[in-house]
């Protein structure tokens, strides 16, 4: 199908993009990689009057090192993130998670920032960003800049702290150098959105888990941190039994959806199994 008509602007700076958004008000839609937006427009489930394309702003594609953290421009593509030595070394969980997003063609176009702002609860990137304590830089009208922590970034289904007229410009991820990481994604067929997935990264010292971070995908209206699991893992050996015991609480307090791919109780069960598997795999490196 063909989208409804819209006007198109492709600003070449963040300032111009903000100005374009301000001018269009609530009739605008931001186009990042377009891999989620374009199907929605084609199905005519949304019909913005103006589409503001961020694709011509090179600075938003940069991936850099600020000493304590790596900083990823919101328009960095999934494949750029997967290929980035910086990300692989200091935020292995993000690299491994993003490598599981959709398919190669979509990863070539789709952007990490676009996926995060789209905030599909079945999307993969959020769980890893949350687990890695990412901070989000949001710019607004007039260039005002604020930084939001993960817990405040994800608000609800398809809703983030990025408000009307604002843009996500950077994702800052504190270095987790030397941490093992794994993203355990459960799907029925490979091209599906996650039914449930678990992003786990752990720092193991001498066979003992010193620190652990666990993010859950599609276990509620936003990505979630399984903090009780994280706490239970600390100081425990990276063994099947110990991790199994810690993972048992993975679904506590979650409210996953029921749909064609699984009822809520099944997803809760999956979360415990997948958390155990993700943590064990992460502990192996």
């Amino acid at each position: 199908m063909i989208p409804a008509q819209f006007d198109y602007v492709a600003p070449e700076s963040v300032e111009d993009a903000l100005a374009a958004l301000a001018a269009a008000g609530d009739e605008a839609k931001v186009l990042a990689g377009g891999q989620s937006l374009l199907p929605v427009l084609r199905m005519r489930l949304n019909a913005p009057e103006v589409v503001v394309d961020l694709g011509r702003i090179p600075e938003l594609r940069e991936i850099s090192d600020d000493g304590e953290a790596i900083v990823i421009g919101s328009m960095a593509t999934h494949s750029a993130v997967v290929a980035s030595d910086l990300v692989r070394e200091h935020a292995a969980l993000l690299a491994r998670t993003v490598a599981e997003v959709a398919d190669p063609q979509v990863r070539h176009r789709g952007t990490v920032g676009g996926a995060l702002v789209h905030a599909d609860p079945a999307g993969d990137v959020g769980a890893a960003a949350l687990a890695l304590d990412a901070e989000f830089t949001i710019v607004g009208p007039g260039g005002s800049t604020r930084t939001v922590a993960g817990a405040d970034f994800f608000v609800d289904l398809f809703e983030t702290a990025v408000g009307e007229g604002e843009l996500l410009t950077r994702i800052r991820i504190p270095k987790h150098t030397g941490w093992g990481a794994h993203y355990e994604k459960f799907v029925r067929v490979a091209h599906q959105w996650s039914i449930v997935a678990v992003a786990a990264t752990v720092r193991v010292e001498g066979g003992t888990i010193a620190e652990a971070r666990v993010g859950l995908t599609n276990m509620g209206s936003t990505p979630l941190r399984a903090r009780s699991v994280e706490e239970a893992l600390v100081g425990r050996p990276a063994t099947e039994d110990a991790v199994r015991a810690a993972a048992a609480s993975a679904a506590d307090g979650t409210n996953p959806p029921s749909d064609l791919n699984g009822d809520s109780d099944y997803r809760k069960h999956l979360a415990t199994v997948l958390t155990r598997r993700a943590v064990l795999a992460a502990a192996q490196g």
């Binding site: 929605v40 005519r44 063609q105």
Partner: protein
């Protein structure tokens, strides 16, 4: 669809769908497709695949779905594989596109085209342009893939005829240098 409809309902999108009544702006783009440079006026809503097929007559690239699942429309945009139904033509302004029609040079098939023929990796042929374009991309990234890497590299392309068996064989055949 269920997913997208849920999305629309949650966003309240259906309520504010406007009814287009006038011609929209046209945007001028310049794109190099299969080594030929074209400058055209397009509506911003025009998908790259429709631009290729309808304005340039590049009908070798086809549309198989509306949700970017099937990959039949895969082309190379600035050297990497993309689903051309999921890119606006205006986004390709200034870019270089290679389609299935631009692979053979001097009447000689690309080794991956040759491999698909030799290994009977196509039946109806509808997914084939996208499958070949993605296979080329996959081998560019990973010239010596395992069977599992080939299968995962093609996870964005649906085929209903071959059961994928011979497509995987064809990629292996091409990776091994063909009939050599």
């Amino acid at each position: 669809m269920a997913y997208l409809k849920t999305l629309a309902r949650q966003q309240g999108w259906h309520d504010d769908l406007k009814h287009p009544t006038e011609e929209s702006q046209m945007t001028r783009i310049t794109v190099t497709v299969d080594d030929v440079s074209y400058t055209d006026e397009v509506e911003p809503r025009t998908l790259l695949v429709h631009y290729l097929r309808e304005q340039l007559g590049k009908t070798g690239t086809v549309v198989g779905c509306d949700t970017s699942n099937c990959g039949a429309c895969t082309v190379h945009l600035d050297g990497v594989s993309v689903k051309s139904c999921n890119v606006l033509a205006v986004q390709a302004d200034g870019s270089t596109v290679t389609t299935i029609e631009g692979l053979a040079t001097d009447g000689r098939l690309h080794p991956v085209q040759e491999a698909f023929h030799e290994c009977h990796a196509l039946q109806c042929g509808y997914c084939t342009p996208g499958m070949i374009m993605q296979s080329i991309d996959l081998l560019r990234d990973n010239p010596d893939p395992t069977e599992q890497e080939i299968r995962e590299g093609l996870e964005g392309n649906l085929c209903r005829c071959t059961g994928y068996h011979n497509i995987v064989k064809a990629v292996q055949y091409a990776a091994a240098g063909g009939a050599k």
